[in-house]
Amino acid sequence: MIKEVITVILLVVGCFFFLAGTLGVLRFPDLFSRLHALTKADNLGLGFIAAGMALHIASPWAALKIFSIWLFTLLASSTSCYLIARFQREQEQSKNKKERG
């Protein structure tokens, strides 16, 4: 019973972070803060949901699998966030150079 309650709480918290992340993507003004919302909040949300599901299934193997899903998503999204941000920076720099020269 307590386990189920904790599961539900974890899932709800996860959903809340997803919602916040999505709102951030939609409402934030520029690319960097949007990326911030997308990667940070969503990964946190995914973490909570993964934890909730792991608790719900309650088998060590499944928990390991779910944990690795979270880990890989974390890695992939942080890398892609970094790459997008770097691309944007380079674009801006080259733009500035053009304007100056």
Binding site: F72, L75, T79, Y82, L83, R86
Partner: protein
């Protein structure tokens, strides 16, 4: 409750499909296409088709989406002011003036509406054919594998699967035929970014392992050659993007061997079985499991190589550099 979820998912898929085609900018189209693919993948899961969901997410949404994303760099991403003129739609696949097309456009939409109504009635009133579940279940023990979808793909309908592996190779050949491609170019500079390099180094073995896992467990559960191949193909794509194009590092003959080995081995095995008195692709039940695993592994290697090569070729088709060297093939 489940009806509600399914309905929401169905409406979402339709909405995304419409948005995908109506979005004013190409960038939006491509990103909504990713979302559409994911919605479909969820629908497959809801319908109990996990294999299809993995394939859809990996190939149709993932791989194809990456190709479209790569194409964006060329088309409208670099020129964001080049918007699609939504008003002047209707082009019946043929050259046409965009003016004074109200009547044909109206006819097109009316026709499509009518067509939709008939289509809806046709799928609504469909009689229950019963399917082939029982037949597949009865013959499953003889197929050498335990997962029914793998049994159908690699044994009951192996001929279709063999042709399909041929179609992927053919897709690559067709892309060569388009011209303006130099596959075996010199290795580019390695990625200048330390983080990217580390991530590629980390993901390469992980993707390889996970592909092998999917391949091996295709015998008993969802997974198999195609899903594994996409993961292995992703290794090639990552390496290519990181400045290590696989096909320019390995010798030419090895590249060709990788591309064709799945198709040829599948066929030659079939011919050998035929020489042994059976029909094409008639695996003896005692050895079927092993033979199917070998066929699947080689097929996955070939498909992965073909997907890598398709991406590598499309990646080079930039507007900025018109072809200097014709296809060396």
């Amino acid at each position: 409750m489940s009806v509600l979820i399914d309905s929401i998912l169905a409406i979402l898929a339709v909405y995304l499909a419409l948005q995908c085609l109506l979005a004013p900018r190409l960038t939006q189209t491509v990103f909504i296409f990713f979302a559409f693919g994911l919605a479909l993948a969820l629908a497959w899961v809801r319908l109990g088709a996990v294999d299809v969901a993995i394939t859809e997410a990996a190939i149709a949404s993932g791989f194809l989406g990456v190709l479209f994303l790569d194409a964006l760099r060329d088309f409208s991403f670099t020129a964001p002011n080049k918007r699609e003129n939504l008003e002047a739609v209707h082009d019946p696949l043929s050259r046409n003036d965009t003016k004074s097309l109200l009547l044909p456009r109206l006819a097109l939409w009316l026709g499509l509406g009518l067509f939709l109504l008939i289509a809806l009635e046709a799928v609504w009133k469909i009689p229950d054919g019963g399917g082939l579940t029982a037949a597949a279940e009865a013959l499953l023990p003889e197929s050498g594998v335990e997962h029914p979808v793998t049994a159908v793909l690699l044994n009951f309908r192996a001929y279709d699967t063999w042709l399909e592996i041929g179609v992927i190779l053919l897709g690559l050949l067709a892309i060569f035929a388009v011209g303006g491609i130099k596959l075996y170019r010199k290795p580019g500079v390695a990625a200048d970014d330390p983080l990217l390099r580390q991530v590629i180094l980390f993901f390469t073995p992980v993707l390889f392992l996970f592909g092998a896992f999917l391949l091996y467990f295709g015998k008993t559960g969802p997974g198999g050659a195609f899903q594994a191949a996409v993961l292995w193909g992703a290794i090639g794509i990552l390496l290519h993007l990181g400045g290590r194009p696989v096909f320019s590092v390995i010798p030419r003959w090895l590249g060709q061997l990788l591309l064709t080995v799945g198709l040829v081995f599948f066929l030659v095995l079939g011919f050998l079985l035929m020489a042994g008195g059976g029909a094409l692709f008639e695996y003896p039940p005692a050895h079927a499991g092993v033979l199917i695993l070998i066929v699947e592994t080689l097929a996955a290697i070939s498909i992965a190589a073909a997907l890598t090569a398709i991406f590598a070729n499309l990646n080079q088709m930039k507007k900025e550099e018109p072809n200097e060297i014709e296809s060396t093939n």
